[in-house]
């Protein structure tokens, strides 16, 4: 029996047992165990298979750095999480864990054949070998390699969990609740600052949890902090990223450790803005690089101490320590004092401090100085270690069941680096330490290099008498990068650490090289014969450890993903069977099918009813801007292409808005309500953009103008009532407005009341019929709609949706900006010359309209298209050619922008952008489609009521 529980030690609750399963086998642990400690207590040391070679792997560490022991946890019902570190999984009753990257089982893994042929899979193997033939990559190479190499399976079911998010603010945020972090928290607490202290583990204490001498201090300190009203303690919370202005992202795990997760959020995203950030992330022990350093049972010395002191688990019965640093000696002494047999302390150094030698002698631990482990026997578990002196002599074997590595310490500067703080190389630590801050942040404790672990040396790989080309000495355990891969990368010309990283994949795994970066640097330094500082350091990026997408999304899923904007009339439309479509962020009624109608039938009926009687349409989503101030007319005159200053109060005008490049960006009908007050309308999707654009000009170009813009889109519900009977329908409902054509002509606006509700009543039309747009305060929109609807019953009123609106406007040749224009269409291209004020000194886009390419012939211009076969409805977006008999690829001269069946005309109608279109009137063009070519004649854009007499009814 190798690893096992030791009586009387640890912080676990031995009064209770917790049953969990690993690969289907039931096991017991205690509350307070991680999966890692519980497996060790059950003598399980084989916990995973490596990424590339499928080598058997056990625990390397005891914390966030663990690269080997990755597992999948399946809670059922879609709750499946792969690639969890066994060291970070808390056990609970019924926990169901599976090992990964093995088939058929962890002990018998066919993929391990990769290990036998490992010499054929050096770094860069995949890139070089699977290049040709190119077409094989997508279908064969990539899927096969992906199946073979890898981590856990991606979940395939929808995540049933909910997640929460919050913001938090504090004077001081401390990351890491070890001794240094707790001291910093006590100090800030005493200074009456608002403090947040977060730690990734279930239990606060960090390194103090593995040092019983600190436990009384830890308990009293945590009690003090918990009682302080100005301190928030967050355990199971990982600070995963440090962003601008002391903004920290942290993920708090709420239910993953519970046997019954309940219905509350699984995790909470904390977005913390801190006055000062104190990083107390500690340091991570470095492994040593030697042959067989990945056999299950070879682990960090500090991890063995943690398993013993915190969890009461001995990692073995006969333990060998391989050290280049004093800290390992002290860890070994702790193990020895607990009764574990230390078979040998092997140290590469010629001598160490006399007190270490004395204590070893006192404990009866054999010491082999100036020596190194050169091999490890055992495949699924350590059975022995081979040792030689540093010259390669005195080879001998020691029977043991665990090998501990003490390679020195790497301060965790990950978050410091996220914050763009600079780093400085420390010879003493053999690591980079925080140097100059870029935010209000400082490091404390081991994280700052201010912790006494003793002294040691830094070395890329232990010396070995064996041929380095024949051994596998691992640098990056998770990505299976060996010392010889680093050497190969250098031989192949990689000189920068960034290139070496990408060539070998060292440091690119989910652990981001927490245990491998420094060893890889030392090895590259040796191979290149350049100092470590000259090779550089790869950049740390968030997240510090892998985080769930669910936590990052927080509440933003399902109905909260983004707002779906609905009008005041939307519920009525829903009750009346409307089919909806999304337009920008809005949901709009598309058509109102009756009695099993399809869209074609419903739209045809709605169109005919509007043309012959009356239809009602919810136009509330139109953008509205109130432009107020003495310079309102001057401002609009500068923005729009046409003249606005002479527009009389009570009248409306179509406005065309260009960008500075002369292309159409928006349009709409606007009304002058008073000399200093206009009511603008914009397209539905353009509302925010147009307001921003106008504000931009007002604030940056013309700050002298006394005019202000206010969005009133949501102030008004807009009910469009269109059709020859529109006036008859509203006449009984309207007060204070003379509706007669003489006093209220087309393109006019009046204020009065409708159904007792104040209204801005527009006489405008986007259908070509007599029409009104009834603006009422949004809260009364539904009421007025229902009154108009009721009044319209006697006139055969129909509700209609956006699809019918599109057909009716296309029959009249009214464009829709963004459908018939695409950001490259000028007013001339769109046959809107009439809307450009030729005498105006300036307007936005005017100068661009004189650019050579804008006035050149052959531009794409908007025209009508009438198919030779009236029953043929062209497809929107279809390409147009002049001669269908030309060889493929044909020259395309334009495309269809709008196309509909017109029930009114009994034929199809279409609009299209065609090169030189305005000169092609009557010409037959061709639209090649699969299996046929459709002939169509170029026409004007107004298909119905060309003289506009119906508007003035």
């Amino acid at each position: 029996m190798s690893a096992h529980r030791i009586a009387g030690l640890g912080r676990i609750d031995r009064s209770r047992t917790v049953t969990f399963t690993f690969d289907g086998k039931a096991m017991q642990g205690c509350p307070g165990d991680t999966l890692a400690s519980a497996l060790l207590a059950n003598s399980v040391v084989l916990m995973g298979r490596s990424f590339k070679y499928h080598r058997p792997r056990g625990l390397l560490g005891a914390g966030a750095e663990e690269p080997n022991a990755l597992v999948s946890v399946d809670r059922g019902g879609g709750r499946f999480t792969p690639n969890l570190r066994a060291t970070a999984v808390e056990i609970y009753e019924g926990l169901n864990v599976r090992s990964q990257n093995r088939w058929p089982s962890l002990k018998t893994d066919f993929g391990a054949i990769n290990d036998r042929f490992g010499r054929f899979f050096p770094a860069g193997f995949y890139n070089k070998t699977f290049m040709w033939p190119r077409s094989f990559w997508d279908k064969l190479y990539e899927p096969t390699i992906r199946r073979m190499a890898g981590l856990g399976d991606a979940p395939i079911e929808a995540d049933p969990d909910v997640y929460a998010a919050t913001y938090a603010h504090c004077d001081v945020l401390i990351v890491g609740a070890g001794p240094a972090g707790i001291d910093a928290a006590l100090e800030a607490c005493a200074a009456r600052k608002q403090v947040i202290l977060i730690d990734e583990q279930d239990e606060l204490g960090g390194g103090a949890l593995a040092d019983p001498a600190l436990w009384p201090w830890l308990e009293s300190s945590l009690n003090d902090l918990a009682a302080a009203p100005n301190v928030t303690l967050l355990s199971r919370t990982t600070a995963f990223g440090f962003y601008h202005d002391n903004f920290i992202g942290a993920g708090q795990r709420l239910t993953d450790h519970l046997a019954e997760p309940g219905h509350g959020p699984r995790e909470r995203l904390w977005r913390i803005r801190a006055g000062e950030v104190i990083l107390a992330q500690g340091a991570i022990e470095r492994p040593l690089v030697f042959a067989g350093n990945d056999v299950p049972g070879v682990m960090l010395a500090s991890a063995a101490r943690t398993y013993l002191v915190r969890f009461g688990v001995a990692v073995g019965d006969r333990v060998v320590l391989m050290a280049v640093h004093d800290s390992g000696w002290r860890d070994a002494f702790v193990l020895a004092r607990a009764g574990m047999k230390i078979a040998a302390i092997v140290d590469l150094r010629a001598q160490v401090a006399p007190d270490l030698m004395a204590e070893a002698a006192e404990l009866g631990v054999p010491v082999e100085m100036n020596s190194a482990v050169i091999g490890v026997s055992g495949r699924h578990a350590v059975t022995g270690a081979e040792i030689a002196d540093s010259a390669g002599g005195n080879r001998h074997k020691i029977v043991c069941d665990a090998v501990l590595m003490a390679g020195g310490w790497t301060p965790s500067v990950h978050l410091w680096s996220h914050s763009k703080g600079s780093l400085a190389w420390s010879e003493e630590w053999g690591a980079y330490l925080a140097d100059k801050p870029n935010e209000n942040v400082r490091c404390v404790g081991a994280c700052a290099g201010k912790w006494n672990y003793g002294t040691g040396v830094s070395i890329g790989a232990l010396p070995t008498p064996d041929d380095p080309a024949t051994i596998k000495a691992f640098v990056d355990f998770q990505n299976d990068v060996t010392a010889k891969d680093i050497a190969l990368a250098v031989r192949e010309g990689m000189k920068s650490v960034e290139h070496i990283k990408r060539y070998t994949t060292n440091g690119m795994a989910t652990d981001q090289g927490k245990t491998s970066n420094l060893n890889a640097l030392q090895l590259a330094s040796g191979a290149l014969d350049r100092p470590v500082q000259a090779i550089g350091l790869t950049t740390f990026r968030p997240p510090y450890t892998p985080q769930t997408f669910g936590m990052l999304a927080g509440d933003a899923k399902g109905a909260l993903f983004q707002p779906t904007r609905k009008t005041a009339i939307d519920p009525w439309a829903e009750e009346h069977g409307a089919v909806f479509e999304l337009v920008a962020q809005w949901r709009r009624a598309r058509y109102f099918p009756q009695g099993g109608e399809d869209m074609h039938a419903a739209v045809a009926r709605e169109c005919l009813t509007v043309r012959s009687g009356v239809g009602i349409f919810d136009a509330s989503t139109l953008g509205k801007i109130e432009v107020v101030g003495p310079d309102a007319a001057e401002f609009l005159n500068r923005m729009y292409t046409n003249p606005w200053k002479a527009l009389e109060p009570g009248r409306c005008r179509y406005g065309l808005l260009l960008r500075e490049d002369g292309f159409i960006t928006d349009d709409g009908v606007s009304a002058r309500l008073a000399p200093d007050r206009f009511h603008l309308t914009t397209t539905t999707g353009g509302a925010a953009r147009v307001l921003n654009m106008m504000e931009d000009y007002l604030q940056t170009e013309w700050p002298d103008l006394d005019v202000w813009l206010t969005s009133t889109t949501e102030q008004y519900a807009v009910i469009a009532l269109q059709g020859p009977k529109a006036r008859e329908v509203i006449a009984p409902l309207v007060s204070g407005i003379d509706l007669s054509s003489e006093s209220f002509p087309h393109m006019a606006v009046r204020e009065g009341t409708i159904c007792g509700v104040p209204t801005r009543l527009f006489r405008v039309s986007f259908t070509g019929e007599l029409g009104f747009e009834i603006n009422v305060p949004a809260a009364f929109g539904r009421y007025v709609w229902e009154q108009v609807w009721a009044a319209g019953q006697a006139h055969g009123i129909t509700p209609y949706g956006t699809e019918t609106m599109h057909v009716l406007r296309a029959e009249k040749g009214y464009i829709i900006v963004g459908q018939d224009t695409d950001g490259t269409v000028t007013p001339y291209d769109a046959a809107l010359d009439w809307a450009v004020g030729k005498k105006k000194a300036d307007f936005v886009g005017k100068r661009s309209l004189a650019r050579p390419d804008i006035v050149a012939p052959g531009r794409k211009q908007l025209v009508g298209l009438l198919t030779d076969d009236p029953a043929e409805v062209l497809e929107e977006g279809a390409q147009i050619v002049a001669d269908p008999r030309q060889p493929i690829p044909m020259k395309m001269i334009g495309h269809v922008t709008s196309s509909y069946w017109s029930a009114t005309l009994g034929r199809s109608v279409a609009l299209a952008l065609v090169q030189g279109g305005h000169e092609r009137m009557g010409e037959t063009l061709h639209v090649p489609m699969p299996g046929k070519t459709i002939a169509a004649k170029v026409s004007g854009m107004v298909f119905h009521d060309p003289d506009g007499s119906r508007l003035n009814g």
């Binding site: 909910v162 929460a164 998010a165 919050t166 913001y167 938090a168 603010h169 509350g264 959020p265 909470r268 977005r271 803005r273 509440d555 933003a556 109905a559 909260l560 983004q562 707002p563 779906t564 904007r565 609905k566 009008t567 005041a568 519920p571 809005w586 109130e626 107020v628 101030g629 003495p630 008073a674 000399p675 200093d676 006394d706 005019v707 202000w708 206010t710 969005s711 009133t712 889109t713 949501e714 102030q715 008004y716 007792g756 509700v757 104040p758 305060p777 949004a778 809260a779 009364f780 929109g781 539904r782 009421y783």
Partner: protein
């Protein structure tokens, strides 16, 4: 003015109650967006006190920006519209609705999605800010009472977001 009985609101009239916080629909209000180059001119034109510091409120008027104020008065109130003067008075009574978030944990609920440090918002202060992606005007009406002004079509989303946040508060 039209009858309250014929109004519709985009969120439920029934308050959503949680341990420590209630989220409810505020009363309809008369609202105006006021713009002008300086507070004195605006005050003279309206005959109302005009707060001069961003965030300050006075008599239902909140200063939202260097040249922008939000005036909230009881429904049916009437003010001068400033015709011909170098300022802008626009009726936005129905552009927004008010959600009242009240209770000991109101701050926690609002902080779930609002990036401002709301503990620093004094009673009587108002700020234009966001809740996640949605623009709001937040007015701290009392020690534990906040009025959240939100544009009508975004109100159902915000209501659901606040209710969800309230149901997800830590113990």
């Amino acid at each position: 003015m039209a009858d309250a009985a014929i109004r519709t609101a985009p969120v439920p009239a029934e308050p959503a109650r949680f341990d420590g916080v209630t989220i409810s629909l505020g009363l309809p209000l008369a609202r105006w967006s006021l713009r002008g180059r300086n507070p004195q001119e605006l005050g003279n034109a309206l005959g109302l006190p005009v707060p001069g510091r961003i965030g300050e409120t006075a008599g239902g008027m909140a200063c939202l920006g260097p040249d922008e104020w939000l005036l909230r008065l009881p429904e049916g109130s009437i003010i001068p519209m400033g015709e011909g003067q170098p300022l802008s008075v626009v009726d936005i009574s129905d552009r927004a609705i008010t959600l009242i978030v009240e209770g000991d944990r109101a701050l926690d609920v609002l902080s779930s999605g609002c990036p401002r440090d709301l503990s620093k918002l004094a009673v009587g202060e108002a700020r234009r800010t966001v809740y996640e992606t949605v623009e709001i005007v937040l007015i701290r009406e009392g020690e534990t009472r906040y009025a959240v002004e939100v544009w009508r079509s975004f109100a159902p989303w915000l209501h659901l977001a606040l209710v969800t946040a309230a149901s997800h508060l830590p113990e």
